[in-house]
């Protein structure tokens, strides 16, 4: 099957994607782009799970189901985050994280 590609290539690819997400998470100021960086991070973790499952434990399905559940959690996280972002936009008319600095108490 995928004999020509070592496992390490998948892991390095996921690492690059993960740290691109970390860089975006640290530098971005817009809430939606921060959310996009988090999606990148979650997606890179999924690649890791599937590569480990296929190369090291091909007789089991743990990695596949784990990434299935990660995808479901990412979907619900995105839905709730976007609801919160829209609410913040209504209240502050901006979604820049540095302008949203007061809480209702």
């Amino acid at each position: 099957m995928n004999s020509g590609i070592p496992l390490q290539y998948f892991l390095i690819l996921a690492t690059v994607m993960f740290f691109a997400g970390v860089y975006g998470f640290l530098t971005r100021r817009n809430l939606i782009t921060i959310l996009m960086s988090v999606e990148l991070i979650l997606n890179s973790v999924n690649i890791n799970f599937l590569a480990f499952n296929r190369y090291l434990f091909p007789h089991k399905l743990e990695g596949m189901f784990f990434s299935l559940f990660i995808i479901a959690i990412a979907a619900s996280e995105a839905a709730v985050a976007i609801a919160i972002i829209i609410n913040i936009y209504r209240r502050f008319t901006t979604i820049n994280v540095e302008d949203v600095n007061e809480m209702k108490f």
């Binding site: 995928n2 860089y23 530098t27 817009n30 999606e39 091909p58 979907a75 609801a83 609410n87």
Partner: protein, 180 residues
């Protein structure tokens, strides 16, 4: 070079380029489209690993659902032509240093570690097996996380509706939605 290797190089090049563009692009809608490219090439990798079901889920849920949701919220909250201001060279440089240091550390560790695969025969992943495992209570069953995830999805859906429509009745009929 085998076809799978060529496809892997293509997909990984797309993933690396577009994920870096996603976090550096100055236009928000372009960043969302680059994210879409990243997710589609990731599903290509899943096809390469022979997980057809998960690749389909990735395409429909991530590329079809989450990216569309993100694009809609971008259209609701920002101007399309608006450019971000650069976030300061100091912050950029230190974030890039942190990310690079982490990446180099992880890659060195990965290249150093000797992975040992099992010798057991590979299992054919078909739809029947996935459905049976998801609803089985045996040793290889995943019925508990499946149920928990369904409750979580329901709760998230209800929460999203409640949070997003909070305060809406006050502003009905007003021309301006955002009044202090």
């Amino acid at each position: 070079m085998a076809a799978s290797q060529i496809m892997f190089i293509l997909f990984s090049a797309m993933i690396v380029i577009f994920s870096i563009l996603t976090v550096t692009s100055r236009k928000i809608l372009r960043a969302a489209v680059f994210l879409l490219f990243v997710l589609v090439s990731t599903s290509g990798l899943y096809f390469l690993l022979n997980y057809q079901f998960l690749a389909a889920v990735q395409l429909t849920l991530y590329a079809g659902g989450i990216v569309v949701l993100i694009i809609f919220s971008i259209l609701l909250t920002s101007h399309i032509s608006q450019n971000f201001e650069s976030s300061g060279w100091k912050k950029n440089i230190f974030s890039a240093l942190a990310a690079l240091a982490g990446a180099i550390l992880s890659i060195v560790t990965i290249l150093d570690y000797k992975f040992s695969a099992t010798t057991e025969a590979a299992k054919e992943v078909n739809m029947k097996l996935i459905g049976k495992s998801l609803l089985s209570v045996d040793y290889d069953g995943y019925v508990l996380p499946f149920e928990v995830i369904s409750v979580l999805l329901l709760a998230a859906m209800v929460a999203a509706i409640v949070v997003a429509k909070k305060g809406a009745p006050k502003t009905i009929g007003l021309p301006k939605l955002n009044q202090e």
